[in-house]
Symmetry: C2
Subunit: 353 residues, 2 copies
Amino acid sequence: MGRRRQSVTIKHVAADAGVSLQTVSRVINNEPNVRPEMQKRVQASIDKLGYVPSIAAQRMSGSRSYLILAINDRERTIADWRGRQGIDWVDQMLLGGMLKCAELGYRMIFELVDTHNDHVERELRATIAALQPDGVVLTPPHSDNPLIVGLLDKAKIPFARIGSLGNGAGIPLTMDDEGSAQLATRHLIDLGHRRIGFIAGSPEYNLSGWRVDGWREEMEAAGLADEALLAWGDFSYASGEAAARTLLDSADPPTAIIVSNDQMTLATLEVARARDLEIPRDLSIISFDNTPIVRFTQPPLTAVDQPIAETVSRAVELIIAAQRGEAPSKTPTVVRGSLVERGSTAPPPKARR
Amino acid sequence: MGRRRQSVTIKHVAADAGVSLQTVSRVINNEPNVRPEMQKRVQASIDKLGYVPSIAAQRMSGSRSYLILAINDRERTIADWRGRQGIDWVDQMLLGGMLKCAELGYRMIFELVDTHNDHVERELRATIAALQPDGVVLTPPHSDNPLIVGLLDKAKIPFARIGSLGNGAGIPLTMDDEGSAQLATRHLIDLGHRRIGFIAGSPEYNLSGWRVDGWREEMEAAGLADEALLAWGDFSYASGEAAARTLLDSADPPTAIIVSNDQMTLATLEVARARDLEIPRDLSIISFDNTPIVRFTQPPLTAVDQPIAETVSRAVELIIAAQRGEAPSKTPTVVRGSLVERGSTAPPPKARR
DNA sequence: ATGAAAGCGCTAACAC
DNA sequence: GTGTTAGCGCTTTCAT
């Protein structure tokens, strides 16, 4: 194929404006040492010719690439896409990330990287070498993968770690999982529940533990603590089914259950239905994530909303700030979630109260 | 920030292998004129040093960028993301596009472009100038936007037009909207329905018309044609509501309705409920798109599945083939959809039969 | 405040 | 077959 060349380059602009390449470059990058009238003349030529700098050339000459790389776990993401369960994590990431990037003159590139792969390092290194991004947004479980964190740190690329308390390098951000779990627990306590079960997510994700912590603290504070009310899953439907059975078949079953994600909640709903438990009359349920499907279940689910878009948006801001030399804060940036009340929560049944 | 340079460049590899840059370049690009043993030696150095070519540099020297750009309508996409209705169009695009790109050694970049903007052209031109993609995947309604098509044609960038019959430049692909509508119509006719309504999508999308055509043909073939059974919407919930009312409040209402997307189907479901019509006993419904929510409605919806992932995957294949010089076929590549039967279709009520 | 020169990492074109 | 040379479009020195 014929080699495609840039149609309008910095040279054309320089010639048109009658200045040196350097001056044009200064205007493009808003650098000092350009007289206002000079800057105006150059800008006029840029507009007239419809000039846009080539990212490749900018990157080549050792400056910024104006690319922010967001990476997600490959296996899980593809499974979600194939499963078509309406999990819109990626969409919310793009919503927050792309818009913020656009606002700041950057572009977001989304990539998948295998966590469970002995060549994570090679894979990520290749992506970085090829794309040369100015920053990277890490999501769980990558955010706490020491190989990835170490690699990025060594490469001196600013990076955000979503869902990480951030011991070590990088910019940590959380969605306040602990606080959200407390919120949900308190809501149920306020409704009069005393036996509140909790189905935890995969221990591979640190946030799973934080959510458990939030529930446990609130239960303890209310004098309601009972570890028998805790069951672990791994975020999958099957694991939610098993956990719900354990909880509901126990001698003294809970009157309410908080479930760590929507897929496990679907399973819990099904297990409850099989036992002729009516929601929320016989059993209250609060879900985590608030993906689209929670509005379509019977009844619609009260859920903890995860502010994914906003968190990624903040992450991009912080990365770009760091890239400009601002010292990143060592304490995690917290973007709080909220409880969205729908139809799956009510006071506990009188009989058991 | 310190200027980040490539850690391992082609020079390092050349030095390590004791050959010229050019030989390394040849090995990277699988070009001829390299002896097997030479190629092995170079490859060994590449592996040893963990070398990955810089896309920026490759692009700079006038060759490929290994980037495929996929663009979607900005307004609609952001509205979908914000609305959190589980519309997974973007996810399915990425699923098909990213995997195929990865398979062929390319990367997919997803971007949003405004259709309803007098500066579509400027916007797209900027994206292309900045990214220098080797190919572009267009989705409706961009696929038939003459400004965009003209621009890409002039720039000599191979591009695919999904949902376009492709008059003019570019590689056309469709998901057989007409055939799918026929499929749905025939299914209802086979169930015994004689008055089958159709709610069309926005006329701005050519595929809206094709779906109507498919319905109409099948109805005519069965001697059931009646233009009073056709109502136009614009894919929005509100428009679906209005269209459903028109159809159901008519003197001789349909016993079945085919709706051109899931959002309008949701509205139709609601309108039916308000009229105490039980689905599918009193009214059969078939939806288009088969987004995740159709499994959660009451009852779950029989729907036409749009093979988005596969279509984008094919588009990427065709683009890369074209970029390598293969002459693209002028007739559209068709990726057929399928009818997924769930609980919203049944024989018509006896009384009306 | 502006310009000139050098070089980023790679490939096309041309030698050998 | 393999190496050499020039140059892609831009930014960074370093002069002026």
